[in-house]
């Protein structure tokens, strides 16, 4: 099959933009009536497109990963020091909750550690294929925290991130640190009381169940700051019952 020069230049243009071969280019161009821009959009939005593009762009992410990996680290693993440098590089402060959003995105096994394949997979999933685009995505990731669904995902993942190896529940001070980080806006009416309540209790760890239920409790407290609708006989962990009783007795 032969094409005139006009079509040929379109094929060339498409191939260059999408880094695909001529056959793919012709297929996409045909189905979008030889409009290069439309064909490119179709290509990038389809699964097929991202996979084949990723194969070429992954190299960039992989080399980015290697840049921050310390040579003494395990292969394919970036540890704290590199992670800190990476965060600085992409403009994320270490004491902002966005760190946790990124950790969830990259499925970090513990805080401060990234694995190469998860790193590449995570960034590709939001189409951030190089340092430049990663930087540009940060504001979006930051704003994810305001969205209940995304926040819940990050919140629940944080327990895993924060869990010291070999333990089943979070040491109290670690739990308090992450609660402050994540809940300072959502739970601002009660967070100080909650923390001072925890510090005065002889319990020194927080179970996964308490951590998870805390999310729902925060949602409840947001809609009902007086906590009047809280049922102390309901299916809440008893530590929350104690807290609500404590709050009610103060009122």
């Amino acid at each position: 099959m032969s094409y005139n020069s006009q079509l040929r230049s379109a094929i060339l243009q498409f191939s260059r933009v999408t880094a695909s071969n001529e056959r793919t280019a012709i297929g996409y161009l045909k189905s979008s009536n030889w409009n290069v821009e439309a064909a490119a959009n179709l290509y990038f939005s389809s699964n097929n497109g991202s996979r084949s593009r990723a194969s070429s762009d992954k190299t960039e992410l992989e080399s980015l990963f290697e840049q921050f990996r310390d040579s003494s680290d395990q292969p394919n693993t970036m540890t704290t020091e590199g992670a800190i440098r990476f965060m600085e590089e992409i403009g994320v402060e270490l004491d902002e909750a966005t760190v946790l959003v990124i950790a969830e995105l990259l499925q970090a096994p513990v805080i401060g550690v990234f694995e190469k394949d998860k790193f590449v997979e995570g960034w590709s999933s939001i189409n951030a294929m190089n340092l430049e685009t990663i930087r540009s995505k940060i504001p979006i990731l930051r704003s994810n925290l305001d969205n209940d669904t995304d926040f819940k995902k990050v919140y629940k993942y944080t327990f895993n991130l924060a869990l010291p190896p070999g333990q089943r529940s979070l040491p109290l001070e670690i739990a308090i640190y992450y609660w402050c980080l994540l809940l300072k806006d959502r739970f601002k009416d009660h967070i100080d009381d909650w923390i001072s309540f925890l510090e005065n209790k002889d319990r020194n760890s927080i179970t996964r169940d308490t951590w998870n239920c805390m999310y729902e409790f925060v949602q409840l407290a947001k809609n009902d700051p007086g906590l009047a609708s809280y049922d102390v006989d309901g299916a809440w962990p008893s530590i929350l019952d104690d807290f609500v009783r404590h709050q009610r007795s103060k009122a």
Partner: protein, 802 residues
């Protein structure tokens, strides 16, 4: 009547030309006159035939409607005349205007009026039926015709006219007067006068036969529309005033009787004076005014329910029950107030325990009963027995209260289910108010199984045990009862104090029936241990006799540690160093036992045992039963030359008995007067580490056999022990809650929080009432240990993780 014309032509007769000519006025005049005669009761002279034909003629000539109207007109005029002539003069003005007249005057005047009205009514009915007969062929008689023409029948019209022109006579207000007279008569009867019912009944009957419209709907009887409401209103007023009067004048019992009487009166009145249609409404009025609105006040009187209950006034309480049942099928007032009093009485019983009862009469000493041992021991024994006395008093008082309420419930309250539940709730409440409740019930049983049932027949024993079970059923903390029962039972078994093995078994099987095998299995295990130990001891002895015989007789109770109370078998064994002849026996038994049951561990509890020792003082031999520790102490003196002494420290290092037990045993042996086998220097009531002991050569006791007790077991718990007990109770309960949660979840796989909590409480109700906090903490812990999890997306539902 044919006319013959000249032409001789024959024509068919024109029928009815002449005869058809009917002058309505003429015929009506005849009819009207005759109907007038009927009204004047001269009907016998009339020819029904002639009248009937006249009426028929008019109808045939289509004068029907006109005739109908004329008849109506005629009846109206007659009734108006009757109202003036017959009724009006008899209207008793005094009643109508409300001026007070004498009873006789009122009764006579009223009766005359009613009689007259009745007569007029009966006349009218008679006349109307005759008129109806005369006008039989008038189409208006025919209901079909009438409904077509929307005109009522002649008779109905007649009745309607009576209603309008007599009762509702706009000039004389006869109906109003009638109501007033009837109500006045009823009022007189309510106040105790005698009235004659006949005339009233007749007039009521008249009202019942009249309707608001000629369609004669049943719910539009004049009785209902004009009379009944007024009757109900005046009655309401009367009974409201009556309630106030009775509340001031009567005591509660009288009040109830008056209400009962009023209810009967009104029922009778509806049957014989006014209409039975009114019965439900007037009953409701009396019930509302005399029961619903006031019964609480009546019951709160000094003579009210409190006094009735206290004095068991069965008749009054029964009447009260029946009256309240009329107005409230749940009988809430009765339930509440009866139970309030019950709880009050129960709490009185509880608080009367705070003031201890008079000291028990001194018990006659007998050989089987121990003599005293040491001042402290005496005091403790006293405390223990006064606790038992208190327990028995409490149980008896509560049972007496229970019996009393049972009698009332049976005889006065028709064994009402709702009340039974309320009574049970009340008992549960105050019995569980008393912290010592579980202990007291167990002590009561202990007392009876040790002494109380002596000489009683089997069925009497059964009764006593049943009573204990009644109270047991009310206990919420059945696990606490189990604890105490285990302690008491272990003392009875180990010290051989139980009077009857059968009674013990019986008690256990009663408990088993109430709360199941799980509850009693450990108790039964204790019996089994005793039984096995007996067998084992005799087998051991037999074997020993085959070989080299021991120098002492040893009998051993081997207790399974999980069955017996911690106090009896606790791990905190108190070892001591036994004298060689005892040690030899101990080792022999240990060897025998371990050979029989390999892999078991035998812990010796010298603090639990006793020994029979033979001692000779001044040539007199005694056989003395002492504790194992006391035996070890006394045997230590065997190695001491006569007159020599051993210091406290010596004894301690020889015997290795823990200080606490050493002191307590030395107190029994060296301080208490009658059992002073040892002398102590210096003499004092307390044993100090610096004391020195020697054999009391001058000891004498008239008895050959006696016992030196150590009251270490009946001691009241001190604070530390109390805390330990309550901690161990709490721990035990936590375990049981957790086990219940796991059992339920294992079976149900997923379950909502509410449902799980309900089922846990249900499962444990035979042992104790678990509190919400404990249940939730157990659930927390099970989630944390990954036995349970919350179902994804539903915090309120748990799932079991296998």
């Amino acid at each position: 009547m044919a006319s013959r014309g000249p032409r001789g032509k024959i024509r068919p007769p024109r029928r009815g030309l002449v005869t058809d000519q009917v002058d309505f006025d003429e015929v009506w005049a005849v009819l009207a006159q005759s109907l007038g005669e009927i009204h004047h009761k001269n009907a016998s002279a009339l020819s029904f035939e002639a009248l009937y034909r006249n009426a028929y003629k008019l109808v045939l000539k289509k004068y029907g409607d006109r005739l109908y109207n004329q008849v109506g007109q005629l009846v109206t005029e007659h009734l108006q005349y009757v109202a003036v002539r017959d009724v009006k003069p008899l209207v008793p003005s005094a009643v109508v205007t409300g001026t007070v007249g004498s009873a006789i005057e009122k009764r006579n005047g009223g009766s005359k009026f009613l009689e007259q009205l009745k007569a007029v009514w009966e006349d009218h009915q008679l006349c109307m039926s005759m008129i109806t007969d005369v006008l039989m062929y008038m189409p208006h008689q025919n209901r079909v015709y009438c409904t077509d023409h929307k005109l009522p029948t002649t008779y109905a019209t007649g009745m309607g006219l009576f209603r309008e022109h007599i009762l509702r006579n706009s000039q004389y207000k006869i109906g109003t007067a009638l109501n007033k007279v009837i109500l006045d008569q009823i009022q007189m009867e309510r106040e105790g006068d005698i009235i004659s019912h006949g005339p009233i009944k007749s007039c009521v009957h008249m009202l019942e036969s009249l309707y608001e419209t000629e369609e004669e709907n049943d719910n539009e009887k004049v009785y209902l529309t004009s009379f009944e409401n007024e009757f109900i209103d005046t009655s309401t007023e009367f009974y409201r005033a009556e309630a106030q009067k009775l509340l001031q004048e009567c005591d509660a019992a009288t009040y109830l009787r008056r209400v009962d009487k009023r209810l009967r009166e009104e029922r009778d009145r509806c049957a014989d004076t006014i209409s039975s249609l009114t019965a439900p409404r007037i009953q409701a009025v009396v019930e509302k005014e005399l029961i619903t609105n006031t019964i609480k006040e009546v019951m709160s009187m000094d003579s009210g329910i409190r006094s009735m209950l206290d004095h068991e006034k069965i008749v009054d309480l029964s009447l009260l029950y029946r009256l309240i049942s009329r107005v409230d099928k749940h009988k809430n007032v009765l339930k509440d107030m009866a139970c309030d009093r019950l709880i009050e009485l129960g709490r009185n019983i509880n608080s009367s325990l705070k003031t201890p009862p008079a000291p028990p009469p001194p018990q006659p000493q007998d050989i089987s009963n121990p003599s005293t041992s040491g001042a402290a021991a005496v005091k403790e024994e006293k405390a223990a027995s006064s606790a038992t006395l208190m327990a028995i008093k409490w149980v008896n008082d509560v049972l007496a209260l229970k019996d009393k309420y049972d009698r009332i419930w049976e005889q006065a309250w028709e064994k009402d289910k709702g009340i039974e539940t309320a009574i049970t709730r009340a008992f549960t409440k105050f019995i569980n108010d008393l912290q010592e409740g579980p202990e007291y019930i167990s002590l009561f049983i202990d007392h009876n199984l040790q002494r109380g049932i002596k000489g009683r027949t089997e069925s009497e024993v059964d009764d006593v045990l049943d009573k204990a079970v009644i109270l047991f059923k009310y206990l919420t903390d059945k696990d606490l009862f189990e604890r105490h029962y285990k302690n008491h039972l272990s003392k009875r078994l180990l010290h051989n104090k139980s009077l009857s093995h059968d009674a013990e078994k019986q008690m256990i099987s009663k408990l088993k029936v109430e709360v199941g095998v799980a509850f009693t299995s450990k108790l039964e295990g204790m019996f089994k241990d005793m039984h096995l130990s007996e067998e084992m001891t005799s087998e051991f002895r037999r074997k020993q006799q085959e070989g080299e015989a021991l120098k002492i007789d040893l009998s051993v109770n081997v207790l399974t540690s999980t069955f017996w109370p911690a106090k009896a078998v606790g791990i905190d064994s108190k070892p001591c160093s036994y004298p060689p002849i005892v040690e030899e026996a101990r080792e022999a038994f240990t060897a025998y036992y371990l050979q029989r049951h390999s892999g078991r561990k035998l812990i010796w509890k010298p603090n639990m045992g006793t020994a029979d020792i033979k001692v000779a003082f001044k040539g007199r031999k005694h056989e003395i039963n002492v504790s194992t520790f006391a035996m070890v102490i006394l045997l230590a003196f065997n190695n001491v030359a006569p007159g020599e002494s051993l210091s406290f420290t010596d004894l301690k290092s020889i015997t290795m008995i823990p200080d606490e037990d050493l002191i307590r045993n030395l107190q029994s042996l060296a301080v208490a007067k009658s059992t002073r086998l040892l002398t102590k220097k210096p003499m004092s009531k307390d044993v100090k580490p610096t004391d020195v002991f020697s054999i009391n050569e001058s000891f004498s006791n008239p008895k050959i056999r006696f016992r030196i007790g150590v009251v270490a077991l009946n001691r009241v718990e001190n604070d530390k022990e109390k805390k330990e007990t309550s901690d161990s109770v709490a721990k035990d309960r936590d375990q049981q809650i957790e086990a219940a949660v796991v059992r339920i979840m294992k079976q149900r796989k997923t379950l909502s929080h509410q449902q799980l909590v309900i089922e846990v409480i249900e499962q444990l109700k035979h042992r104790f009432a678990p509190d919400m906090g404990s249940i939730k903490r157990r659930i927390d812990s099970l989630i944390d240990r990954e036995y349970l999890d919350r179902v994804e997306g539903s915090r309120e539902t748990y799932q079991y993780l296998a």
